[in-house]
Structure formats: structure tokens, C-alpha cells
Amino acid sequence: MENEAGALSRVAGLFSARGYNIESLSVAPTEDLTLSRMTLVTVGSDEVVEQVTKQLNKLIEVVKIIDLSDGNHIERELMLVKVRAVDAEREEIKRLAEIFRGSIIDVTDKSYTIELTGTSEKLDAFLEAIESSAVLETVRTGASGIGRGEWILKV
């Protein structure tokens, strides 16, 4: 969509006004600074998703919209998670982070902050693998998606 003030609120407003759900939303300017790209995850029947798509297309600032789940696509989300890490936990959490291909980006004598990228399911799985009382804080970006192979969204 056009990288203009208020464009995001039109999208968010449309979802709340029409009773659609936003599971996650991630947005930033693209290599063409006049454009922003937004990845929005929503859940609904085929009819609802069709309406969501049509309604979004009607927004004047939306340039192009594709449903990534129509084809093969890659989806990634970034999570930063701060976990308690004392005594024996330190080794265990480090190992767990390695298994999930995360990296520890900040360390204190009582905690680790881990950076983890993957599908939303993978991030969920990581959080499940850690004892819940050890999780001190999490922050997630929401999914960003892109088509596989030659499938390109370009204006």
C-alpha cells in the first residue's frame, strides 16, 4: 500500500468495523519508499476471506493484495524472549535455544534474552518447551510472508 499517514489505520479500522479478526499484522516501508508492505494474518471461512480481500482492495491506498495461502509461501516471525536462567537452567536453556536455532543476544547472571525466528508455530513450540514460569517476557513481530520461487508480488 501507499506509504502514507493513516493508511494503516484504514486497514485496522476496516477489520474492526466489519468484525474481522486480525491475528497478527506486520508492516514496514519497502525498497521503494513510497510503498509499504503489510503482512496480515486473519482467520475465516472462504467467504469471509473473500470479503476481506475485496474490502481491502477497495481502500484507496491499497495498491495490491494477494492471499499468500493461495500458493506456496514462506512465513517468518521474529520473537525476543527473556527467560530466567539460573544454575542448572542456564545450560538447559542454552541447549534448547540451539535446538530451535535461536541465539542468545543478551545475558545477565539471572537471565538470557533469546532471539528466535521461524513460523509462528515454531515460536509457539519453543515457548511450550520452556517451563512457563521461566518465561519473563516475550515480544513478537507477527508473521511476514513471501511467495516461494518465482511467485512475486511487485507493483
Partner: protein, 567 residues
């Protein structure tokens, strides 16, 4: 090198460039510079209303009756919030309109300044698009875009919010000839393959119905709709917004359909085998219960410029996205060269069935009543104006009676708030209609509840000598609310009685108009005739009507089309 102009001058110059002859508005602090420029020129006429809601309704009536973009000018804060009802009304009915609003100076935005509201935020859900112009060099281009967006594709209101300091700053004025936007390219031509498929389906129909909505009016496609319907000998029903799209006095017209549609129209809708939906959107007042609708099998062709109107509430088989006018022209062309014709015998049977439904005489009412029946007033109005008046209405029972009993043969003659259902719409809209059609007969059919929602506009009518005929069907109730309470709330008339009504005759007179009170059925015709003889005066006719009259037929909310309550 051309001289630099202020933002205020540019705003007015843009309106002139767009050929705007008449705007409706109300001044205030944030638009003072713009008003100053209005004052200095005479190309754009300004109509001063008494409340901003009326400015928008008047611009709306102007647009609906003329197919020009309606323009309104309001100040910041309360000017805008008062306008919101009008903007939402225009949005729901897809009316092309540009609203210019003043805003507090850019350096005061966000600081809770005097008369500040987040105009772009407040109006966002009820405009096609809106702009806040923070940079004077973008002003002319933005106004050009606003007119372009408002009048193309599915039309709608577009708001341009101009901070006071921007209206003061100067820049060179260049009005662009055209705009192109990569993110806005409305489709006009329908898909050729889809149109071909539609032709095949149309020719295979045994029990067809044409169901035509407001899109026919908006795209000026009434002649094409009529031509197609008549060359096929198909029955045609119009929605509330589509009245006048097909001549109502023609034998192929089934009248209006939906919640208060005719028996024959609703039955034909329910039992047809091929439905041709043209610029209509299957809303809840037409198809109250989509599931019940699909108890019968039929194939549906749906022509609409807005893809999101297609398969929103009702699944269709052949969608055609495009301008109704373009698509109908194309359809007619193909139908003319087609050798096959619709099944003559089946069609004859279908018409026989429809005639049986017609015999039910669903719009009958007591013509011998000693109390004035509201239906009779509308019938007389139709007779006396020979069906040639512009009729605006407010919202409620009187609106439905006007829609049922005034037979609209021409488009853009029936002006009402269909989507939002805004009480208070009728009189200000009629002002706009009269200004767009100075020689037209304009009547506002209203009720004693609705009219009081914008009654202050009697003053505007006086100032500009607008000779409206106000037809007040006065039953001392919010009639439609009372009807629902009678049917669905055990006759408990909670707060629907209109108490302490003014003497409308004196009220009209105090504004300098003519007032009449009509209490006997035999006086109705004479009063109407006399009112139209008073060519240069607004006449307020207060008809004291039957309090217990209900609108029939009625499809109760959520019920199927064939489940009508009949008189």
C-alpha cells in the same frame, strides 16, 4: 510566471475548475479564509443552511437529482461532527460528494485546540476516502483527486480537511487536467466471457426476473435497463434505491420488492429460475433471510461495479464486475444478434402466474375511510403532478407509502435515504433538488416526527425562495416504530407517540411560508392542487392521517420473501 495564490483562493479556484455552481455550507473559524474568497467571486454560489447536517443532505439531494458531484463546506470540530450523519447517509447510498472541512492550524493539531476533532478519523468509516492536506503545494492536486474518486467507480463522499494555516499559505496554482493513481483504477467494462455466459443463461430462462437497484440510477442506465427488459419481455422489480430505473407504470413492472415490496415482486423473486440483478446488492431489506431464499433453486447473474457487493450476502452464479451502463449496452448488443429467443411458451405461463399474484391486490386500502389515509395522499400527489415531480422523503411509514404509491417513471426523481435511513433527510435534500432543478416541482413527503429533525431549514428555504411542497403525513406517531411495536412488542408503544406537536401551520407561517392543515379526505386533492399553484411559495401541508394505518405487505425481519404479512 503566474502569481501565487493562497490555499483559500486555490480551494475556490478548484471548485470553479470543476464546474461547481452551487455549494452548501456554514462558516466558522477554521474556514474563514475560504469564506472570504467565496465572498470575492460569483461563479460558485453558496447556500447557507441552518445546521451542517442539512448542508450535506442538500448537497446530496443536489447530486442525486442532477448526477453532478455535490459539494459542501463546513468548519472544524462541531461543523464536522454535525456533518457526519449526512456523510454517512451519502456513503450508504453511494452518492458522489466532496466535503471541504476546515481544520485547526497544523501546529495546533493534536493539542486539543478549540473546535478541534480528528476529522479524518471520525469520518474514515463513512467516506469513500478522505484527506488531510498539510502541505499547501498538494492542495490543488488533492481536491482534483477528491472529485475523481467521488465520481468514478462506485461513487461516494470524499472529504478534504484543510487546516486554517494551509488556507492562508501561498503557492502557485496549477489545476491538473487529470489524475492517475496506481492504487485506484475502477473497472468499467464487464468481462466479455461473463457477459456471454449471462446471455446464454438469460435465453434459457423460463421464469426470469430483473431485479434492479440504485446502481442503475447512479450509472444513468435506466434507458438501457428498460430496453433490455422490454426486448426480452421479462418482469422487472426495483429496489427502494432503484425506483425510476424502470418505468413503474409499465405493465412489465412488478413495483418495489423487499420488506415492504409488492406481493407479486417478492413472490417472483422467490420463485424465479433466472435472476438478473443489476446494480443491486441483496441487502437485508431485500433478502431478509438468505437461507430461506435458497430454499428455491435459481441461477443468479449479478452486475455491479463493486466486487465486494458480489456474493456478500447471497452467492451468485455469474458475477459481472463493471459499470451497469457499459455491461447493459454490451448485453443488449449480444442479445440483438442472438438467434435464439427466450422460451415464449414458458414466459407466457410465468406471466400468467404473475398476474395471479397481482390479483391479490396487495396495496389495497380503505378508500371510503372518513379519516385521511396516507396512501390516498400519495396517490393524489401522483395524479396531480402527473408523476413528474421530484419526490424526496424522510424515513418511516411515509417513505414506504411514497415508494409504493408514487409511480416513478423516470430516474433521479425519487430521493430518499435508503441505506442509512436518516430521519431529517427529506427537507434539506429537497432544497438541493430544487436548486439543481430550479423549474422542477419538488415535494417532500415526510411525517411529523422526521420533519422536526431538520425543521430549522424552513429558514433556509425562505432565504433562497425554494418553493418546496412539504407533505406532512401527520399521524402523531413515529409510525414505523409504532407499527413494529404493534406487531412485535405487544402493542406497547414505548416512546413512539409524538406529544406536544407544534401547530405546523403557524410554524410555517412564522418562517414566512404558507401553511395548510387538511383533515378531511375530500380536501386532500384541492389542497395539493392549490399548493402547486402557489409556484413561488413553500407550502407546508399538514395532513392529519389515520393513526392506526400500517404498511403492507411486510416481510418481518429475518423472514423469507414469501412469508409476507398481507393486509
Amino acid at each position: 510566471m503566474s502569481a501565487e495564490l493562497t490555499g483559500a483562493e486555490i480551494t475556490i479556484r478548484c471548485l470553479q475548475e470543476e464546474g461547481v455552481k452551487c455549494i452548501f455550507g456554514y462558516p466558522g473559524g477554521a474556514v474563514l479564509f475560504i469564506y472570504d474568497e467565496l465572498f470575492k467571486q460569483d461563479k460558485v454560489r453558496h447556500i447557507l443552511v441552518r445546521h451542517e447536517q442539512a448542508a450535506i443532505h442538500a448537497a446530496d439531494g443536489y447530486a442525486r437529482s442532477s448526477n453532478k458531484v455535490g459539494v459542501a463546506l463546513v468548519t472544524s470540530g462541531p461543523g464536522v461532527t454535525n456533518a457526519v450523519t449526512g456523510i454517512a447517509t451519502a456513503y450508504m447510498d453511494s452518492i458522489p460528494m466532496v466535503i471541504i472541512s476546515g481544520q485547526v492550524p497544523t501546529n495546533a493539531i493534536g493539542l486539543d485546540a478549540f473546535q478541534e476533532v480528528d476529522t479524518v478519523g471520525i469520518t474514515r468509516p463513512c467516506v469513500k476516502h478522505n484527506f488531510l492536506v498539510k502541505d499547501i503545494t498538494e492542495l490543488a492536486h488533492t481536491i482534483k483527486k477528491a472529485f475523481y474518486i467521488a465520481s468514478t467507480g462506485r461513487p461516494g463522499p470524499v472529504l478534504v480537511d484543510i487546516p486554517k494555516d494551509v488556507s492562508q499559505q501561498k503557492t502557485k496554482f496549477v489545476y491538473p487536467d487529470k489524475v492517475s493513481m496506481r492504487s485506484y483504477n475502477p473497472v468499467t467494462k464487464g468481462h466479455a466471457k461473463q457477459i456471454k455466459k449471462a446471455v446464454e443463461l438469460i435465453l434459457s430462462a423460463k421464469r426470469p426476473v430483473v431485479y434492479a437497484g440504485g446502481g442503475v440510477i447512479l450509472s444513468d442506465a435506466a434507458p438501457q435497463l428498460t430496453e433490455m427488459t422490454q426486448m426480452l419481455n421479462f418482469p422487472c422489480t426495483n429496489t427502494l434505491m432503484g425506483l425510476g430505473g424502470y418505468p413503474a407504470t409499465d405493465k412489465q413492472s412488478l413495483g418495489m420488492l423487499g420488506m415492504h415490496g409488492t406481493y407479486e415482486a417478492n413472490m417472483a423473486m422467490q420463485y424465479c429460475d433466472v435472476l438478473i440483478a443489476v446494480g443491486a446488492r441483496f441487502d437485508d431489506r431485500v433478502i431478509g433471510n438468505p437461507k430461506h431464499f435458497f430454499n428455491e433453486n435459481r441461477k443468479i447473474i449479478h452486475i455491479d461495479i463493486d466486487p465486494s457487493s458480489i456474493s456478500k450476502r447471497v452467492r451468485v452464479d455469474i458475477p459481472i464486475v463493471g459499470d451497469v451502463l457499459d455491461v447493459l449496452k454490451e448485453l443488449i448488443k449480444l442479445l440483438k444478434i442472438e438467434k435464439d429467443k427466450p422460451d415464449h411458451v414458458a414466459l407466457k405461463e410465468w406471466w400468467k402466474q404473475i398476474d395471479l399474484w397481482r390479483e391479490r391486490d396487495c396495496l389495497k386500502f380503505d378508500r371510503k375511510s372518513k379519516i385521511i389515509k396516507p396512501q390516498m395522499v400519495i396517490e393524489k400527489l401522483f395524479e396531480i403532478t402527473k408523476g413528474d415531480a421530484f419526490i424526496t422523503s424522510d424515513v418511516g411509514q411515509h417513505q414506504m407509502w411514497a415508494a409504493q404509491f408514487y409511480k416513478f417513471d423516470k430516474p433521479r426523481r425519487w430521493i430518499n435515504s435508503g441505506g442509512l435511513g436518516t430521519m431529517g433527510f427529506g427537507m434539506p435534500a429537497a432544497m438541493g433538488v430544487q436548486l439543481a432543478n430550479p423549474h422542477g416541482k419538488v415535494a417532500c413527503v415526510t411525517g411529523e416526527a422526521s420533519i422536526q429533525m431538520c425543521i430549522q431549514e424552513l429558514s433556509t428555504c425562505k432565504q433562497y425562495n425554494l418553493p418546496l411542497k412539504i407533505i406532512n403525513l401527520n399521524n402523531r406517531y413515529m409510525g414505523m416504530v409504532r407499527q413494529w411495536q404493534e406487531f412485535f412488542h405487544g402493542n406497547r408503544y414505548a416512546e413512539s407517540y409524538m406529544n406536544a406537536l407544534p401547530d405546523f401551520v403557524k410554524l410555517a407561517e412564522s418562517y414566512g411560508h404558507v401553511g395548510m392543515k387538511i383533515e378531511k379526505p375530500e380536501d386532500v386533492g384541492d389542497a395539493l392542487k392549490e399548493s402547486f399553484k402557489l409556484k413561488d411559495q413553500l407550502v407546508f401541508m399538514d395532513f392529519i392521517t389515520d393513526q392506526s394505518e400500517n404498511v403492507f405487505p411486510m416481510v418481518p425481519g429475518g423472514k423469507g420473501l414469501s412469508e409476507m404479512i398481507l393486509v
